[in-house]
């Protein structure tokens, strides 16, 4: 009977109910998109790093798994590393930012092909000149590029697209390393070195040797390196804090929406509350109805919000396939559900309690 009363109350003011559900869904979607983008982009970075085929990565002193600035490593260090026992290949690579979230890689294509197995070209093929660029399918889709096109908006340089490759290896843009070094004033230097060991069992031995050989450098196994690409590690935990702040805002929005919605509902139903009290409804019964309605809106808002996060991902994939990658994060569904429910219960408490304590005679006289 309570369920029927709650349902009929919601049906009686469908626009108010739908608007409330939508407004609860918005912060749910925002949180899921934020978390999904964070995890999706980090996961994409990790996947592309693994796609290189290296066992070990060497990063310059003063950097972490997620921070890299310039190209401070002399290229000859890669040659030194290549001569170490159990090392079958050491490949220097330059990485340079081209926007807030995009990077361009400078590679020695022959070495890269040997380490990774090479690009799988969907159009065109390898570099044929120093000003050639290989783009991955997502970058090509977002910028509507084809093999043979010219682009000028990357580092203000004229590039010819020699090939469009399948994604999953390196950055989305790859150019000859010497060209990138010269363009950025880093001739003879690289950003990081990828190392392949003769067999997996020797990876830890090689890491130990390299740490001794290159004091101050960060030397990671690829598994360790990719495991460090987490939300907690971005900007010293700043992303984690940002997400926590967004979660807090989600609770506040859910609270405010339900407070206003239920307060309005209680005002509109003052007479009905009086009727229920005249029938012998207890304070708890009245409070239960208000809380139940808020919970239904909270659960509905959460479900709609989760649904909207799929819509947001589809939109992002369509509009920004190269720039942004949003993961769907089912582990966060119960978390955002709990966040919504905390917000709506807090928001429904005041209107619910004020309804429960209304004087029945005054409520019955309400016009």
């Amino acid at each position: 009977m309570t369920a029927r009363l709650v349902l009929e109350n919601m049906k009686h003011k469908p626009m108010r109910s739908l608007l409330s559900v939508f407004l609860i869904a918005v912060p749910v979607t925002l949180i899921l998109c934020l978390v999904g983008l964070s995890e999706g982009m980090l996961s994409d970075s990790a996947q592309r790093a693994r796609g290189i085929g290296a066992d070990i990565v060497i990063r310059p002193p003063g950097t972490s798994a997620l921070t890299l600035s310039g190209a401070p490593i002399p290229q000859k260090v890669a040659d030194l590393v290549a001569r170490q026992p159990h090392v079958v290949q050491a490949m220097g690579m330059m990485v340079h930012p081209v926007s807030n979230v995009s990077f361009i890689s400078g590679i020695d294509l022959a070495q890269f092909d040997r380490m990774s197995g090479g690009f799988k070209y969907l159009q065109g093929g390898p570099f044929r000149g120093p000003n050639d660029i290989i783009v991955d399918q997502y970058y090509a889709q977002q910028h509507k590029l084809h093999a043979g096109d010219e682009i000028h908006d990357v580092l203000n340089h004229a590039w010819r697209v020699s090939g469009v490759a399948e994604g999953g290896k390196l950055a989305r843009l790859a150019v000859p390393m010497t060209t990138l070094q010269d363009l950025t004033g880093n001739t003879g230097k690289v950003s990081q070195i990828f190392v392949k060991a003769d067999k997996p069992a020797n990876v830890s031995t090689v890491i130990t040797e390299l740490k001794n050989l290159l004091p101050g450098y960060s030397v990671y196994s690829m598994d360790e390196f990719t495991s460090l690409l987490t939300v907690q590690n971005v900007q010293g935990g700043a992303l984690r804090t940002f997400i926590d702040v967004m979660v807090g805002i989600g609770v506040v929005i859910g609270f405010a929406v339900v407070l206003l919605s239920m307060y309005m509902a209680v005002l509109q139903r003052t007479r009905e509350i009086g009727i229920l009290k005249a029938l012998g409804a207890s304070r708890w019964f009245i409070l239960k109805i208000i809380l139940a309605e808020a919970l239904v809106m909270g659960v509905s808002g959460t479900v709609v919000g989760i649904g909207l996060s799929f819509v947001a991902r589809a939109l992002i994939e369509w509009l920004y396939p190269a720039s942004l990658t949003q993961a769907i994060t089912p582990l966060w569904w119960p978390i955002v559900g709990a966040i919504s429910l905390i917000g709506v219960v807090l928001g429904a408490l005041y209107p619910g309690l004020s309804a429960a304590t209304q004087d029945p005679i005054e409520a019955l006289a309400y016009e």
Binding site: K11, H12, A278
Partner: protein, 224 residues
Amino acid sequence: MSDPLIEIHGLRKIYRVGKVDVPALRGVDLAVPQSEFLAIIGPSGSGKSTLFHVIGGLTPASGGSVRIGGQDISSLTDAGRTELRKNKVGFVFQKFNLLPNLTARDNIAIARYIAGNDLAADAEFDEVLKLLGIAHRLEHKPAALSGGEQQRVAIARAIVNHPAILLADEPTGNLDSENSAAVLSVMRDLNERLGQTILMITHNPEAAAFAHRTVRMRDGRMVE
């Protein structure tokens, strides 16, 4: 003669309006035997509705005593008055006061639900529905019912839990003469067939004529 169902002695009720005390009941004495149909008449402001609110447990008394079935309700807490409304009293209001979002059937069922009774009506109540002439209108919401039908649904809701007293506050105040007569006939039938004790406030002498006895109030007191 058995003890009265309702015994009221020296009942006072004072409302606080701002910083002013307004006496609404100034020492009411009244005894109502079981199964009586009593009409209470009097001008506006005479205290009729306040008397109903106190007897019905909608507001506490300021002084005096009110006993229903031997239980003194003048000292009940808010929770105690809630129990009284749930189990011993049924209200019929001038403006019907049905829940607009629920069907007639659900308006009656929610009274059973609140009282903790089985939602399925008993056979005796089915007879009451036939007596009220609303059995075929139960799936409609109040907006689809005439005033007379709404008031008959309200009467059904008021008696569905077999209360000791049915309190009707101007039950025909919003009805035309035809529907008024139908509602009053139903109330008299309920009184005669089921022995339902009924207290009815009315301004209308013709309505009061349906009752066994009429008492008059003025300035917060019984005057005859």
